[in-house]
């Protein structure tokens, strides 16, 4: 059974010209529990919007996004917030760490809106990503690679079933990008979380057994190109 099952998903925005422009139009997409899949997509192809829809950050215009036995697209904002906090980890290209909080506090805060704060687990996760000596450091005191590791630990804090990663190596150099990617994949595997990663970097995509082209999934892209 699929962990994530998307069907007839549509999302449009009001364009600057005034009309509505469809950004995401995905008839079918699924991801199994524990599966690791990369989506290839160019900038502006709507892949970040697609991830935001799955995470419930954006509300879909129509369609369904089943995560386990719940339909994210059918939930109100409050329900989407809860489902996201409890079941989804999100890793951003720019890490999106809270600058006023230490590494440990960033991870703890990730837990606070989910099942609850678990300090030993937060500490263990930071140790796992190699930051055992940086628990009290603030993001500005860390290198970009270290900041991404904190983001990885935070994304896994609530035992998510699904981890979404949006260009997670986009801000890292090649060496650190490879290391970060390996860490994300390993930790997702260790925690039994499925991973859906979007990237336009061939080196990143080459690391995955399963890669799909987002342009093929998204009819909106096909309409633009045709």
């Amino acid at each position: 059974m699929s962990l994530l099952a998307v069907s007839s998903l549509k999302k449009s925005f009001v364009s600057p010209e005034g009309g509505r422009k469809t950004i995401v139009d995905v008839p079918e997409f699924s991801l199994s529990a524990g599966q690791q899949l990369a989506l290839r997509g160019e900038s502006g192809s709507g892949k970040t919007t697609f991830l935001h829809l799955i995470a419930g950050i954006l509300a879909a215009d129509s369609g369904s996004i089943r995560i386990g036995d719940q339909d994210m697209a059918a939930l109100g904002e409050r329900g989407r917030d809860r489902l996201r906090a409890q079941n989804i980890g999100y890793i951003f290209q720019t890490f999106n760490l809270l600058q006023g909080y230490s590494c440990l506090e960033n991870v703890l805060l990730g837990m606070a809106f989910g099942p609850g704060v678990n300090r030993p687990r937060a500490t263990a996760l930071l140790e796992r990503v190699g930051l055992s000596k940086r628990l009290r450091h603030y993001p500005r005191q860390l290198s970009t690679g270290q900041q991404q590791r904190v983001a990885v630990a935070r994304a896994l804090a609530n035992h998510p079933q699904l981890v979404l990663a949006d260009e997670p190596t986009g801000n890292l150099d090649h060496k650190h990008g490879r290391e970060a990617l390996a860490l994300i994949r390993e930790t997702c595997r260790e925690n039994g979380a499925a991973l859906l990663l979007v990237s336009h970097d061939p080196a990143v995509l080459a690391e995955f057994e399963h890669v799909r082209d987002f342009a093929e999934l998204n009819r909106a892209c096909q309409e633009v190109s045709s």
């Binding site: 917030d81 809270l98 006023g100 805060l109 809106f113």
Partner: protein, 400 residues
């Protein structure tokens, strides 16, 4: 708990604006508390101070001037009361006790008042409280001896055994020195009444001071009166004020002082209005301070929302932050209040001898902080609404 944690972190993250805004609230709150407490304390205290007397009999004139002169030792005497009038009221069956005072001299600005020793030995200046001597003894007979109020002795630097020459008039002028030499025989213990700032001498001594009009040597400036019953006051009021036209009977003392405060009530209202406006400006400061930082906060808000924080929680964070700034400001406001109120109380004591109890509970100490916190929360509403409406997806996007 998470809410409080986020608020504390946010306050720390915006420490400078937090401190500056809290300080402006502290100043506003301190001013509001000071104005209010000094106003109510002054009214309460001054309308209760009667140094143990129910009424004052003096020359025809203003009752207020009479009370200020005879009880508070502040104003000039409106005129003299003849010895016969004093003897008459003293012997009146409705009067329990009548003690004369005479004024007209000073000792380096401190008023010299002539009176009888009974003022100290037989009158309770407040229920159950009688003047006591911190040092020395009362004057004897008509000797040129003086007893100093505690505050006057301290300020003049005089002690038992010291001598001085009185100066003519109520204002100090070195050229107007009298020839008489008085010896300090006693110093009163502090009573927190106007008596503390007076130099007390025998009545006869002041009446017969060199240079005073010999024809008025038996006159007194006023007569302090204790009545046998409250109704007696109205009868004597009728007799002196309505049927007579030579003398003024000031009764009841508290009501006359209350009249003074009602006359200067507009000044209190102006002060209170200024304090309210300052409080409003401080609350607006909270609004501006948080609102201006919203652009910088929106990314953090979006991250919190992406982690699962609900809109209502974000709204609550901003409101709680505004309230906390208000609360911090009001804690500091009490320190500022303590400084202002102590200074004002010291000035009032120096001028009147009356010590205000500015540190006793006053309802404003409860409603002012609560009101200010509520006002700050109100100031936080607009930024909270902005935070509530934060576009999560747009603010999570990489900053180019």
């Amino acid at each position: 708990m998470t809410l409080v944690f986020i608020v504390l972190r946010s306050l720390r993250q915006h420490l400078l604006s937090t401190v500056v805004t809290a300080l402006s609230i502290a100043l506003a709150g301190g001013l509001l508390l000071s104005v209010w407490v000094v106003k109510t304390q002054s009214q309460e205290t001054f309308t209760q101070v009667n140094t143990g007397f129910d009424a004052v009999l003096g020359a025809r004139g203003s009752k207020l001037q009479l009370v200020l002169n005879a009880i508070f030792h502040l104003e000039a005497s409106p005129g003299n009361v003849a010895e016969a009038d004093y003897e008459f009221i003293k012997a009146h069956p409705l009067v329990k006790r009548a003690i004369p005072i005479a004024v007209g001299d000073n000792l380096r600005g401190f008023r010299i008042v002539g009176t009888l020793p009974e003022l100290f030995t037989e009158v309770d200046y407040a229920p159950g409280k009688r003047f006591t001597l911190a040092a020395g003894r009362l004057w004897q007979g008509e000797a040129k001896e003086a007893v100093l109020g505690g505050f006057a002795a301290h300020e003049l630097g005089l002690k038992v055994g010291d001598t001085f020459h009185p100066f003519h008039g109520l204002s100090y002028d070195p050229k107007n020195e009298h020839a008489e030499t008085y010896v300090v025989t006693g110093v009163l213990a502090p009573s927190n009444t106007p008596a503390d700032k007076v130099v007390w001498i025998p009545l006869h001594g002041l009446q017969t001071m060199s240079g005073h009009d010999a024809r008025a040597a038996t006159d007194v400036s006023a007569v302090l009166i204790q009545l046998r019953a409250p109704t007696a006051g109205f009868m004597l009021d009728m007799m002196y004020n309505k049927q007579g036209n030579r003398l003024t009977f000031a009764y009841p003392i508290g009501a006359i002082m209350a009249e003074l405060f009602s006359k200067i009530g507009w000044f209190d209202q102006v002060l209170a209005l200024v304090a309210y406006l300052v409080a409003l400006v401080a609350a607006a400061g909270v609004l501006v301070s948080i609102y201006n930082s919203m652009s910088a906060r929106q990314r953090d808000i979006a991250i919190l929302r992406a982690l699962g924080a609900r809109r209502r929680m974000i709204f609550g964070v901003i409101l709680l932050e505004a309230s906390t700034i208000g609360a911090l400001g009001m804690v500091a406001a009490f320190a500022i209040y303590a400084g202002i109120a102590s200074a004002v109380a010291a000035v009032i004591q120096a001028q009147t001898g009356v010590m205000l109890s500015v540190f006793t509970y006053n309802p404003v100490m409860l409603w002012a902080p609560l009101g200010m916190i509520a006002l700050c929360s109100l100031g936080g509403l607009l930024p909270a609404c902005k935070a509530y409406r934060t576009d999560v997806a747009a603010n999570l996007a990489p900053v180019s």
